[in-house]
């Protein structure tokens, strides 16, 4: 881990004082820039409306009270919004893991005819900006081809488009590619079917990448805004971000902020627990493409 970087270790030792001051400076500035606003948000929602409007603003709430959080929870029916979002996220994980894993397995190991053409057509969708597709995708969801049904307010309107994720298929395929062919051959000689091989050989070896895909699916659903705003128009089916947006206009600022804090908690907690997997998944996926 002692690889040479921009500044050499000998130089670092000489400039020890400079190094430590710079480090202290960067740590405090970064803490201020990235945690500061979050601190402001969490404590701001503990203040009364009068205290928030006070100049200069108070660093610590004078009389911290949870009433804004309680009001946000009750008025916006956050329990339902959070449950909806969780339900969509969990379903998205299942759908992505089942269909994207199967597809990546086929493209990497079974290699059927035209597999590369299909992979190419999937990867090509990475080049199309999401905003360009939003109108025809909406049009498709309100009247599904062949079936002629509308998916509005149905969780499938979130789950099925999530499967069409070329980045995940690419990530999974690259991981499966690194599993030695001999293992596959051995399984086939032993008479294992492709499904059996996937289930008992490939998947157990792929736990890290499956974890990354699952975490990405949860955060993608949790952070998504425009798509659920369009396809979940009924108040009972909204996600938490859309719910807050819909209520924001007629709700006191502090309550909107309190609701925003609660909405952000799940992803922040997921990040703090799985930060290592998330960050490694992000860099391996994008670097060696």
């Amino acid at each position: 881990m002692s690889t040479r970087t921009l500044v050499s270790s000998t130089q670092l030792k000489k400039g020890r004082a400079v190094y430590w001051t710079l480090l202290a400076l960067v740590v405090s500035v970064f803490t201020l820039v990235f945690i500061g606003p979050l601190y402001w948000m969490v404590t701001g929602a503990l203040k009364t409306a009068q205290e928030v409007a006070q100049t200069p603003p108070t660093l610590f709430p004078q009389d911290p009270r949870l009433s804004n959080y309680v009001d946000a929870w009750m008025q916006l029916d956050l329990a339902k919004l959070l449950f909806n979002t969780f339900y969509y996220a969990a379903g998205a994980v299942v759908f992505q893991l089942v269909f994207d894993t199967a597809a990546a397995y086929a493209l990497s190991k079974l290699r059927p005819a035209l597999g590369n053409v299909i992979l190419g057509a999937m990867l090509a969708t990475l080049m199309i900006p999401a905003m360009v597709l939003i109108v025809p995708q909406y049009q498709t969801v309100i009247n599904l081809p062949v079936l002629n049904i509308s998916l509005l307010d149905s969780p499938f309107a979130i789950w099925l488009p999530m499967v069409a994720n070329a980045f995940n298929i690419f990530l999974l395929k690259r991981f499966f590619d690194s599993i030695p062919e001999e293992l596959m051959q051995a399984a086939f000689i032993d008479g294992a079917s492709p499904l059996r091989t996937l289930w008992s050989i490939i998947l157990p070896m792929s736990r890290p990448i499956l974890g990354v895909v699952a975490i990405f699916a949860v955060t993608a659903v949790w952070k998504d805004f425009l798509w659920p705003l369009l396809v979940m128009p009924h108040p009972d089916t909204r996600t938490v971000s859309v719910g807050i947006y819909s209520f924001a206009a007629g709700t006191p600022q502090n309550i909107v902020i309190a609701a925003s804090v609660i909405a952000a908690l799940p992803t922040v907690i997921i990040f703090l627990i799985f930060q290592r997997n998330i960050m490694s998944g992000l860099t391996t996926g994008s670097l060696k493409g």
Binding site: S8, V26, V27, P56, I134
Partner: protein, 310 residues
């Protein structure tokens, strides 16, 4: 002899047909594994792509769809907000590139030099990326960009004896304020990717440069940047495509259009036409225009960056 050789061709034939059979079966199994993802791609990606182009030449009125040629395009170009939206979008993209491109690169270079607190700093930088954008933007809207002196940024400016700002209420500050919020929310991803790229630079290159008497800046200029050029180019491209789709920042921070149309973006205009003005066909036409602009841009960009290589 004949008795022995006679069955041979039959056996060979059976071998060929069982081979093709097996190949067919293998292909079928392979496609069976693919079918779920392929159907989803077909219904929600490939088909909408074509449908968007078709829709842009049609008009649906009272349930009747007819071909209208270029009418949708003409109508969308004549929208008084059309050129403003493009101007704003380009302005945002340019400003976000200046700020959001250079800052993460230098942050990554700095973090890569530290031998301590690396994990902590990385978590900090990536934390905002994990927040739902709506949550983070309400924080900016209500607390940071509060135009009174009770606002976080104005309080800091006042404390430093600098002039305070009206932020989102001022047409000139709207864009910089949106770029600031957007960079804060999104730069973590770029920092992590740069960090990974920096770790791939062979240490002897720095060693050699140092022996040649290259100072700190020269080493960054002649070693770090050329060694990470590919990733830099790729991320610049991805960032431009992402920022051209500016949507949620104007929607939440500026209630859509902002003061004197200072926040209207092309994506917001698509949303307006499609879902408020009952003009899905016009919105589809604007989507096609956006696709063409981005494709033209990417082509020029690729041409320029590959010319560098030769």
């Amino acid at each position: 002899m004949a008795v022995i050789t006679a069955p041979a061709p039959v056996k060979a034939e059976a071998g060929v047909s069982s081979k093709t059979n097996r190949k067919l079966r293998d292909n079928l199994t392979g496609h069976a594994f693919l079918i779920g993802a392929v159907v989803c791609f077909g219904v929600f990606m490939w088909f909408p792509m074509i449908r968007g182009i078709v829709m842009s030449f049609q008009r649906t009125r009272r349930g009747v769809t007819s071909w209208v040629g270029w009418d949708n395009y003409l109508r969308i170009v004549e929208d008084p907000s059309f050129w403003v939206a493009w101007k704003n979008t380009f302005y945002f993209t340019g400003l976000a590139l200046v700020v959001g491109f250079a800052v993460p690169f230098f942050v990554a270079i700095l973090l890569n030099e530290f031998r301590h607190a690396k994990g902590y700093l990385r978590v900090l930088v990536y934390l905002p990326v994990m927040l739902p954008p709506a949550s983070a933007l309400y924080l900016f809207k209500y607390y940071a960009y509060d135009p009174s002196e009770a606002g976080l940024f104005n309080a800091v400016l006042k404390f430093l004896h600098l002039p305070t700002s009206e932020w989102m209420q001022s047409p000139t500050m709207t864009m910089p304020a949106m770029v600031l919020a957007s960079t804060w929310m999104n730069m973590g991803g770029a920092v992590l990717i740069y960090l990974a790229a920096l770790q791939g630079i062979p240490g002897d290159l720095y060693e050699a440069a140092e022996l040649d008497g290259a100072g700190l800046w020269k080493r960054i200029w002649h070693v770090t940047i050329p060694q990470t050029r590919l990733i830099l180019a790729l991320l610049a491209m991805m960032q431009i495509v992402a920022t051209m789709q500016l949507f949620i920042e104007p929607l939440i921070l500026a209630n859509g259009a902002g003061t004197q149309d200072s926040a209207t973006s092309v994506a917001y205009l698509i949303y307006q036409h499609g879902f408020f003005q009952n003009d899905l066909n016009g919105a589809a036409a604007l989507g096609v225009i956006m696709l063409l602009v981005l494709a033209a841009f990417s082509a020029v960009y690729l041409r320029l960056s590959t010319r560098d290589d030769s």
